[in-house]
Symmetry: C2
Subunit: 541 residues, 2 copies
């Protein structure tokens, strides 16, 4: 290292030259160049991503405002690989001065800091779409909003890439006296419209299933398609929670110590965390060997580390789960029933559970038979916080859990560790305050053991319901067949008996029919006449 290395003939750069070349990269520049990180890898995925980000925002804001969502989506072709996208909602709207920051700046939003179950998390959704729009078409995005105050705001916005700040192209507030609330966004993008899997239509259909209380209208290249509301109640509003000691990292703990308003370590522990009461707080102090009266702002690095270790050792209650807002069985069933034409539906909602200090909840549903194609693998619909996941299916904990559940026990054909085969759609919804996606594009869940376990338990419960239905169905079919055989011979038998006994043939027929009815039994639609079923199953052996 003392300059004795063999130098090459070419002239190298000095530390001074290299220093001069360094500069800051704005977040916008970073994501502009790395737009695949936000889901803008190619025109097909980009069109889906834009619609998804805008619709997810609309659903979040309507739910925040506690109104039943009503959403309009338009995708209008504008020449080769160009689309005008419009999304309009009935959310609370946005106050005029907030609009530029909320849409014209990346990494700006309200959800990043909250431990709460929402669709958006990072403040990159709508602004990312605007970034993509201006990158591919050079045009500004139009935003129109009102908060039911008789005024309407109009903006044309772009993002100043070098500074990551909004660039207002035009702005007007019109005192039109119209009382409405909501937001309308319109942008032009480079995009490709496809049908089938991973399409905008598939995304909207699956969204309609897990948001059955929303009314969605889509006007696209294939005409107008409506996803009508199928339920008139919203799921409960999720609550924001404080971090749980089991879920935080040392760096975060140190920052929390720095910025807390608490005056003592004891009150820091009880105020700034969930599930830490006075007793547990004292115990944490004891295990860590720190004085409960210490000023948290004066805790040094090595002390913070002791505190951190103690927090993981002391036994605490699991985090509260009112931060979660599952659909529950009723809404799940309504969602499935309104969008899928099947003969049987079932749904399961598991109790909340925890991974790495984060509460989560799994629910699942199944639609079987009817118009669902009987050939090929079962279709899996994956959701996180009510948002459909359309990409990276193979890498997702949900797909893995479906494949490693033994469906042959529940009446579906399956090769070992593969997705089962048959006329069914299996839906799995993962709800959490912090969804462990395997990558930035938010399309697949990481297969943490705690998560895999919960998904599999939910699927097994679902499997039992399916199996019960299928057993009933088989029995019904068997009995109908058996009854038909009886009935086929009744006239012949009646005639012979009448000959032998001289009893009226018609009378014998009626009696025989009555016996057939009794013996072959009519199983009701629910397949729950256990006694008859059992005996008939035994008879058939």
């Amino acid at each position: 290292m003392v300059g004795t290395e063999v130098l090459n003939m070419e002239k190298g750069k000095s530390a001074e030259q290299l220093a001069k070349e360094q500069r800051e990269v704005s977040v916008s520049e970073f994501f502009e160049r790395n737009r695949h990180l936000l889901g803008y890898d190619n025109p097909t995925k980009a069109l889906l991503t834009v619609v998804k980000e805008l619709v997810d925002n609309s659903l979040d804001s309507a739910e925040d405002h506690r109104v039943l969502p009503r959403i309009w989506v338009v995708a209008k072709p504008k020449g080769v690989d160009r689309f005008k996208i419009m999304v309009k909602d009935n959310g609370p709207g946005m106050i005029d001065k907030q609009i530029p920051l909320a849409f014209g700046k990346l990494l700006y939003g309200s959800r990043f800091y909250k431990l709460m179950m929402t669709r958006g998390q990072q403040g990159l959704g709508a602004s990312g779409a605007i970034l993509y729009s201006q990158l591919t078409t050079g045009k500004p995005t139009t935003i129109i909003s009102s908060t039911a105050d008789g005024k309407t705001s109009f903006y044309e916005l772009m993002i100043d890439i070098k500074t990551n700040k909004p660039e207002i192209i035009s702005h007007q507030v019109i005192n039109d006296g119209k009382i409405w609330h909501g937001l309308k966004i319109e942008m032009e993008i480079e995009g490709k419209y496809i049908r089938g899997e991973r399409s905008v239509l598939e995304y909207l259909k699956e969204t309609a299933i897990t948001n059955p209380y929303a009314d969605i209208t889509f006007q696209g290249p294939d005409g107008k398609i409506e996803f009508k509301r199928g339920a008139n109640k919203l799921p409960k509003l999720p609550k924001e929670i404080k971090p749980h000691p089991y879920g935080i990292e040392l760096g975060i703990l140190k920052r929390m110590l720095n910025i807390t308003r608490a005056k003592s370590l004891l009150s820091f522990l009880t105020n700034d965390f969930s599930r830490v009461g006075k007793t547990s707080a004292k115990q944490i102090c004891k295990v860590s060997g720190l004085n409960p009266n210490l000023d948290p702002h004066k805790i040094e690095n090595h002390e913070a580390e002791k505190l951190f270790r103690a927090m993981k050792k002391v036994k605490l209650l699991r985090p509260p789960t009112d931060c979660l807002s599952p659909l529950e069985e009723d809404l799940l069933l309504k969602g499935l029933q309104k969008e899928i034409n099947a003969e049987f539906f079932a749904a399961v909602t598991r109790p909340p559970s925890v991974y790495r200090g984060n509460p989560f909840q799994v629910e699942c549903g199944i639609a079987y038979g009817g118009e669902i194609a009987p050939e090929g693998s079962v279709k899996i619909m994956r959701f996180s916080n009510k948002v459909p996941l359309l990409y990276q299916s193979g890498d997702c904990a949900i797909t893995k859990a479906v494949a490693t559940t033994d469906w042959s026990r529940y009446g579906l054909k399956q090769s070992k560790n593969s997705v089962p085969v048959g006329p069914a759609i299996i839906l799995v919804h993962f709800a959490s305050v912090w969804v462990p996606f395997i990558s930035e594009s938010k399309q697949a869940l990481a297969a943490y053991p705690a998560i895999m376990k919960e998904i599999k338990l939910a699927l097994q419960e679902l499997g039992r319901k399916l199996s019960h239905y299928l057993a009933g169905k088989r029995r019904r079919e068997y009995h109908i067949k058996r009854k038909k055989i009886f009935e086929r011979y009744i006239p012949v038998v009646a005639e012979s008996l009448s000959h032998m006994t001289k009893v009226n043939e018609e009378k014998i027929k009626i009696k025989l029919e009555k016996i057939a009815e009794e013996k072959t039994g009519v199983v009701n639609e629910q397949g729950d006449s256990e006694e008859i079923n059992q005996s008939s199953t035994q008879n058939s052996e």
Copy 2:
């Protein structure tokens, strides 16, 4: 949208409340929470990522400075799942005032803006590692550097997460009179040390192969391991290039128009792009219908769009390729030979090619036989800009190209569309100014058709070299076997002939041995004695 929706019983949030909750998220906060985006998913991968980022930086800076890299790496266990990592290099060092920004701020660096082939690209490498260190251990990172000016800088740095700015814990410049240049970084992290695939050792070994002019010493839990320099020349210094019209997007073009120093559209086109001469520039203006004398700063949106379309239509030369710095066959062979014990080596470097306006070049190498395990699939070593890719192998264009090449033609066993089987290591190096990774963690290449084609062509050329060697080897083996059979019977034949002819047995033996020698031929090591081979192959039929 006129407030007629059914409201839920719970009270919703107003636009004002929602506005108050919004705020900016700093880049540091974003990556702290989404650290998996930077490769810090779990302690095992994190240990590898830290070493990789620091070593890649060291190699880049030594090459910039045109010195043969000399790198020391230490990974010292510090309790359960804790490691102290140290990386020291002989690069140019960093000037004192530059150190805090270069390491204490995310998205800061010199490489983001350059179209040039380098390992680092985003300014997230070392600062990302420091972020991870402080998140998991709460400790600052130590940086020591000198630029051969007789002074040494010492820093203890952290990153202020809320502002994404360096937080200087301590700082000293010592006038020690020592003349040395280089940089030393030391940090403590949460990490797990593993052996085998995807380990630090595997990363360093593969790095030693594609950087054979580097000297790397690793002091880890298994003791000291040295990767000695195997070549004394650096690859040529890659040049920075201007963007090629085929590779840019409309949004970027608009920004370039805005900030250009050119006074006319014509000079903008010729000065700010590569491969646009006066003739092509005039043609672009003509096709777009724009006046070549237009002030680029005054070009409006619809005009920029016309210009953009015209740029893609006019026929232009491919971008220059001196921005690439491939290893070339000689260095590739040296790298393979110094780290792998095999009986045969070959390497191929393809001419440069282009995807989406970005120049790229593919080279590959093979090591066969010797100490390489003969069972199981061939090992594939993947590299981009000389950096080993250890994760996401299945998703990578390189793996796909290897699997879809027909290796049975070249002497390796293979099931259709699978990685071939046999005692071989196949290395593929992808060099480009902009590597199309499929995701942020920079571990797999996107399978663009142009890229797949080039990799497959390189592999086919490599396959022919292997096939030639294996054919020679088979012939040699056949001849040795044949010669042995001859030799086995010579004594018996000699004895019988001696009996019959009364000629001295020893004489006959010598003559027979000479004939055997001539007829079964000794093929030389290169397997290139075509005539003998061919005749013997025919004889054997």
